[in-house]
């Protein structure tokens, strides 16, 4: 039995969003997208329930993806949260670790690595959070 899985993709580059949407829809995910932190926070705050959130780090402001992660991690059940960035620093990596981000992927992202990490994290979150 196939389980329905949902992911929110957050990136200010529409070409990246479109590419990732195609990839994850092909993997069987229901995909939502947001082109800014504000749009993503709006979706996360309005009762939308995602299995995973994948966010860029630098969008309308540097490191603003951490705010997306912070809001996402308040969700119950908690989604798997992945940050994709080409601009990792000690400060933003430390902040991501302290808030409990599940995965940090380097841009350019290796798609198979990202898919594998996402599938694993969602499976674990569903078991841990008792979600079917």
């Amino acid at each position: 039995m196939a389980l329905q899985r949902s992911v929110l993709l957050v990136d200010d580059e529409s070409s990246i969003l479109q590419t990732l949407r195609l990839v994850f829809e092909h993997e069987g995910y229901t995909v939502s997208t947001a082109e800014s932190c504000a749009e993503a926070v709006g979706l996360l705050s309005n009762g939308h329930d995602f299995d995973a959130v994948i966010t860029d780090l630098n969008m309308e402001k540097d490191d603003i993806g951490l705010e997306v992660a912070r809001v996402a991690l308040k969700g119950r059940p908690k989604p798997a949260v992945i940050i994709c960035t080409g601009f990792a620093s000690m400060a933003n990596s430390r902040a991501a670790m302290d808030m409990g981000v599940d995965y940090m992927a380097h841009k350019p992202v290796e798609l198979q690595e990202l898919i594998s990490a996402l599938n694993r994290l969602i499976a674990r979150h569903r078991e841990f959070e008792g979600k079917k």
Binding site: A88, S93, M97, D102, Y103, M104, H106, A117, R124
Partner: protein
Amino acid sequence: MTPKQGTLPNPLALVVHGDMAALSKFQAALARKGFTTIVARDLPTALLAITQHYFQLAIVSSQLAEGGDGWPLAGVLHLVFPRAFVAVVSPVEPDVLTLQAAINYGAREVYDQSSPAEDIVNSIVAQLISSEGANNTKVQ
């Protein structure tokens, strides 16, 4: 030592490190904080311990037989004991890649191996106490 009747047993910690002196220092520091500690010097012993105990805390060297082989062990500990505090000690001062490895393997904290065991354990216990996960963990 037999626990007093009606009291919870001490929380259990696993320390995996290739250096016996480091194991001894961690064990002593953890005992002072009320932990019972299981130690392992290599991966097979660590895996055996994982099958036989339920750990609330694990401290793993990122370098056991070879550089970096402690990270997957930290990942296994995070999967098997999802509420446990998994810390990794690194032989080099943690950099961006080390922090990212910690995130991706589910470690809650990474420490420089040159830090005193007492300081590392104090830091872990402080984080345990301040986190939700500490609710059922008896630390002193």
